[in-house]
Symmetry: C2
Subunit: 360 residues, 2 copies
Amino acid sequence: MHNTATHNLRKSVTSHDVAELAGVSQSAVSRSFTPGASVAEATRLKVLQAAKRLGYLPNLHARTLITGRTRIVGVVLAHLDNLFYPRFLQLLSEQLQTQGMQVMLFIAEGPGNDDLLEHMLQYRVDAIVLAATSLSSSLGKACLQAGIPVVMFNRVSAQSSDRSFHSVRTDQEEGARQIALHLIAGGHERIAYVAGHLDASTNQERENGFRTTLAEQGKAVFAYGVGKYDAATAQAVVRSWYLDRAGQPRPLSLCPDAIFAADDQMALAIMDTLRDELGLRVPAQVSVAGFDDVPQASASAYGLTTYAQPLGPMVQELVELLMAQIAQRNEPMASNKKNKGHATVVPGQLIVRTSTRQPI
Amino acid sequence: MHNTATHNLRKSVTSHDVAELAGVSQSAVSRSFTPGASVAEATRLKVLQAAKRLGYLPNLHARTLITGRTRIVGVVLAHLDNLFYPRFLQLLSEQLQTQGMQVMLFIAEGPGNDDLLEHMLQYRVDAIVLAATSLSSSLGKACLQAGIPVVMFNRVSAQSSDRSFHSVRTDQEEGARQIALHLIAGGHERIAYVAGHLDASTNQERENGFRTTLAEQGKAVFAYGVGKYDAATAQAVVRSWYLDRAGQPRPLSLCPDAIFAADDQMALAIMDTLRDELGLRVPAQVSVAGFDDVPQASASAYGLTTYAQPLGPMVQELVELLMAQIAQRNEPMASNKKNKGHATVVPGQLIVRTSTRQPI
């Protein structure tokens, strides 16, 4: 069947050919291939049989001009080295693929991103997922203005005054709260925090949940540094805590006995530095916790205690939101509505492994 | 400027409007936005100024119908958990983005992949990169038949009789040869191999280079197992070597003293099993080497000796091949040529870290 299809494709089988063979109008052919369009079942069957026989595939780009739908979802990402995002990308691509849609990838950082908006508008993507943490919300706004639905993943707009975007994320504050309670229950006295990007909502919510919970328990953050969700930056922060300016170890009683890093990527790098550079035992001398539950976190070389973001349910919520948005877009009323974005919050789960001292 | 652009976009500025304002023909507008098309520089400048003023963006899907080019490159991937592929995807996306092209992602395994070919043909991608190791070459053939250029990345067609695809890969045999020589130089006597997928060209070439080199040095593979490029499968292979059926440790003198795994993903998991399950010291009791140099390989928790695939140069070669193929596609003669695929082989580099005993 593939051979027939591809062979005929070169001869450019048109909807006219299909209409002729099926004995129906060209418009009936078009409607038969348009999801949701009205067409008698008997007609549709005749069309599909003729199409199969001729190896006809409706050209999506031609159909796009009629339906206004490209069946492309643009995904804006930045850090593919962080294993949280590749897994997300794979799950999202799989789920959209089952719905006859494909992911088009836009890299927000690095070369060629100056014309990102222009590119996305040119491709007329049906919807956009913003998953790049450091991306400003101006891009999202421009897309909304151009009538393209936008859903934020694992983030919300940094300005609390502007919650016009739909979003899907884990309950970050609750996650950070559970990490804080776990570290306190482990008897830690000097609890440190390594922040991600300060302008990212993920960091703001995690930091807020962490600080608030410590305060409720009568504790303050003992040491604080900004790791920018970057392994090397996080390692430099930790070195500055345990070594003095001459590079000599400070007395451990003056150093953190527990570190919560705003994501697993930083937490794993911090474990490397503590154990292999500074010669400290984890968790006997320092406990380390992260956030995300990336695959490496469960490797026995780390056994990282973390708060798991439930990627499966999150992606499912995301796809449902996307589909609803795309469907709504075709309704003439929808563009006039001044909706507040729907913020979907999915509960995560504390995963206690061996990198933190157990509650006493 | 964005506001103007998006505002006018909703009113659907057409090439006709731009032509009118610029005082040129509509065809001149079209040619001004078509890369490589012939148009006087003065005309092009007038068009671009008018387009900017009106906020005109050429609709790629409309242009596709004229030029036959979508500026979309389809990338077929399977395993995004293996950190080798996310880095590849990021680099490729960045480089294509600078050329005004975008990556559309197709997941070869998992749900929704039955109609993969049909989807790719429907989107009329300009070219396809096959990077899924376990994918049969039938998909690639069907694409070639449909006139879509195909380049294989990090693999060649498994049938040596069929080398019609262009490909970019590291020198796998040379890499495996260097690993073998390094392990022999380290004084190892019982050298084992954990294979990837047996039908993947990556494994075939690595295994061949490894076996041949051992044989040249008067050695045979001491133990052999198939890990299928899967961490858990590779760990099970290693357990079967070091434990007897009752789950008791075998005498170490009957077990491998060095293991080469066909990729880093398996090698890292094997290190976890050796050290944390079996209580063995790496490399004092067993040396471990991998292939790829994924980011985790350099983490101090592993310090994995490996053969680095040079992703930057490989992606650059890939993009050049893609661009040449896409350009050639428009030449009427090209489709009649029965070209043999061009196999680009990029040299890699042995990276010796702490997971293997140093040469004695």
